[in-house]
Each structure stands twice: as structure tokens, then as C-alpha cells.
């Protein structure tokens, strides 16, 4: 019975706030066991309840734990008709149509001139949006640039600048994707290499790696190899770079 009297002493210390952590563990273990004499039974539940909480862990894995952040991060698009860009683009198209009509009526010469002017106007709207718009506005502008058949050097420069310096990783990723489409333009390959050097966001890094591989330019192997070796880069990204090197060498 020495065990029981020891427990009784520990209980007294416990209720006086004098027990050590080890002694409290002893009490928990005792009351979890089956040999609790009747006169101590009423103490059991106090230890059992807090003891049960001790071993509770959250069943949420990393994905579910951060699920609400991921939902929140998806860029919220406005309905298309509320986007000011759509209205402006529609106006520009209308002007072009009217100018076609007018051009047909009043002579062929001014037609090409007019079209060029209106396209320039559309471009400036896009640039303005990139400069002053919200993240979703900028994203929309970049996506719109992808529709262009043959963008001029100025448009490419703006896209490169967006890829390198935009605040939002989503916009930067979109710019990478847009630039791959225009990879035959001078400077795109070099710009992607520069971006690979400066970019710190893993998701964008992976987009750049995929872009460099998609362009099938063997000159990019060096840059990818360097990235794959860099310790500061996330393991997954380095794996992706390594795969990229492999794919390019296979060409």
C-alpha cells in the first residue's frame, strides 16, 4: 500500500501547486491504470481528461490546414462585363470597325493608317492597365497580350519588365507564359535567363524553367545546371531544373 500513500501525498502536493512535471506524470499514469482504490476514484477524471487532451493531434495534413489560404489566393476575377478593360477594348474594336467602314467609303489609303493608330491605342490601354491596374487587372492585361499575333518590340519589353518586377507572382507567371509564345523575338531568351537568376518564388521559378525547356535552346543548359546546384533554392525547384537539363540534353 506504500504506492497508494505515495499517491495521496502527491495529490496533496498537486492541489497545492507544488508538484514537479515528473510527479504530475506519475499521477496521470496512476489514474490511467486500473488499480485505483475506491476512495481515490473521484480524482480520476480530472487527470484522465487533461491527459486525454495531451495526446490529441490535429488530423489535418498540410494541404487541408492551409486549404482556406489556397482558396483565398486564387485571383478573384470580376465578371467580364465589369472589367473596365473589356469596355475599352470593345470601344477600340468599334472604332476599328467604323474606320473600316469609313475607310471603304472614303479611300483605301487612310484605312491602314487608321488601323495602325487604333492598334496603338489598344496597346497603350494595355500598358496603362499594367502600370496602374490591380493584380487581377494586370493579369488580364498580360493574358490579353497573348492574343496578339505579332507584338512589337515595345510590347515585348513591357512584358519582360512585368516578368522581372511585378509584385504579384501570378502576374509574373503569366508574363513568363506570354513570353514563351513570343520566343522568336530578340531578347526573350536572355530575359528569361535573367529572371531565373533574380526570381525567388518557387512557383515562378518552375514556370521559368519550363519556359526555358519549351524553347528548346541548348544554350540554356548552363543556367539550369547552375540553378540545380544552388543551395538556397527549394529542393523541388532544383529537381525541376535538373529534369530540364536532362530534357534539353536529350534533344
Amino acid at each position: 500500500m506504500s504506492k497508494v500513500s505515495e499517491i495521496e501525498q502527491l495529490l496533496e502536493k498537486y492541489y497545492n501547486g507544488e508538484t514537479s512535471l515528473e510527479e504530475e506524470m506519475q499521477l496521470h499514469a496512476f489514474f490511467e491504470g486500473e488499480a485505483v482504490p475506491d476512495h481515490l476514484k473521484s480524482y480520476k477524471v480530472q487527470f484522465n481528461v487533461t491527459g486525454a487532451f495531451k495526446y490529441e493531434t490535429s488530423k489535418l495534413d498540410e494541404d487541408s490546414l492551409f486549404a482556406k489560404i489556397e482558396q483565398d489566393k486564387v485571383v478573384k476575377f470580376q465578371p467580364w462585363y465589369k472589367n473596365p478593360w473589356v469596355g475599352r477594348a470593345a470601344a477600340a474594336v468599334l472604332i476599328i470597325l467604323v474606320s473600316f467602314y469609313a475607310g471603304g467609303k472614303y479611300g483605301q489609303d487612310s484605312e491602314v493608317e487608321q488601323m495602325r493608330e487604333e492598334l496603338a491605342q489598344m496597346k497603350s490601354i494595355m500598358f496603362e492597365q499594367l502600370e496602374n491596374g490591380s493584380a487581377s487587372g494586370r493579369l488580364q492585361a498580360v493574358n490579353n497580350s497573348m492574343e496578339m499575333q505579332n507584338p512589337d518590340a515595345e510590347t515585348i519589353d513591357v512584358l519582360i519588365e512585368t516578368m522581372l518586377f511585378d509584385k504579384s507572382m501570378h502576374v509574373r507567371t503569366a508574363a513568363v507564359e506570354a513570353l514563351v509564345k513570343f520566343s522568336e523575338h530578340n531578347g526573350v531568351n536572355t530575359a528569361l535567363n535573367n529572371a531565373l537568376e533574380t526570381e525567388r518564388e518557387p512557383a515562378v521559378q518552375i514556370a521559368i524553367i519550363n519556359a526555358l525547356v519549351a524553347m528548346k535552346n541548348k544554350n540554356n543548359i548552363d543556367a539550369l545546371e547552375q540553378l540545380a546546384e544552388r543551395d538556397s533554392v527549394l529542393k523541388e525547384v532544383r529537381g525541376e531544373a535538373f529534369m530540364g537539363v536532362f530534357k534539353l540534353k536529350e534533344l
Binding site: 497545492n16 501547486g17 486500473e34 477524471v45 480530472q46 487532451f53 487541408s64 482556406k68
Partner: protein
Amino acid sequence: MELQEFKTKVYPLKDRLYRQALFMLKSVEEAEDTLQDVMLKLWHKREQLLGYTSVEAYAVTMTRNACLDKLKSKKHKHGFDIQEMELDSGVLTAQEKMEQMQGASVMMQAFDRLPEQQRKLILLREVEGFSYEEISERTGLEVNNIRVALSRARKAARATYLKLVNYEQSI
């Protein structure tokens, strides 16, 4: 702060915050939901987080507030929804299990009636198993005052529990 860095900072806190929420809400479902909400709120406040010396302290306060909101909301079920919890290592009959669940539920009510600071100390000491020094760091209380408050909390919880049990038995 980018998401990856944020995740590595807060992920290690998840079980502690979960136990805190569970202790307050007594429902696995609500505790998990609260945990997700807290993560989102922390993410929104990530810039401020950089200024805090202890992300943990910030997260704990946020979890507490989120739980209080939940408790106030009409959707909260004022029940005891932690059936799956292992309360006893012994083999029990269904009858004994029932009694034990009831006992645990009454004990939780007794903890709930403690003043907030005492309840917090119970959580830090009995559930998280922190030393007096660690509790002192987290609450700013002197070790001696912690001992006194814990003693009061333990005695008061027991007294309330016995009172509630006797009351139930008398009806």
C-alpha cells in the same frame, strides 16, 4: 513573406493550437475549422507577423479569439463531441464508457467555469506539459504566482466537478 516561408513558420504550431481550440470548443470539427480560419487570418497578417518576436504567442491569442467568436455564434453546439478521445487505457464495458464520457463532460464544464487566466494555466501545464519557467515566459506571470493560481484552479475545478456530480445524482 511568401507562402512557403509562412508555412514552415506556422506548421509546427498546429497541434498546440488544435488542442487549445479543442479544449475550448470540445468539438473536433469546430476545432479543425477554427484552425483553418486562424491559418488564413495569420496569412493575412503575415507582414505584422515579421515584427513579432513570438509567432506562437500571436497565433495563440488569435486562436483564443476565434474560439470565443465560435462559442458566441449560434451555430456552436454546446455539447461534448470528443467521443473518439482515449480517456482510459483499460478495457471498458459500454456502461463504463458511458459513465466515463459523462464524467469527462462534467469535468470539462468545471474547467469552463474557471476564470480565463486559470483555465489558460491548466491548458499550459496539464495539457501542454510546460515547466513553470516556460509558462512564465508565455504569460508574463511570476513562477510563484503561477503555482498559487494553478493550485486554486485545480482545487476549484475539483470542487465544481463534485458539486455538479452530486447535483446530477440528486435529481
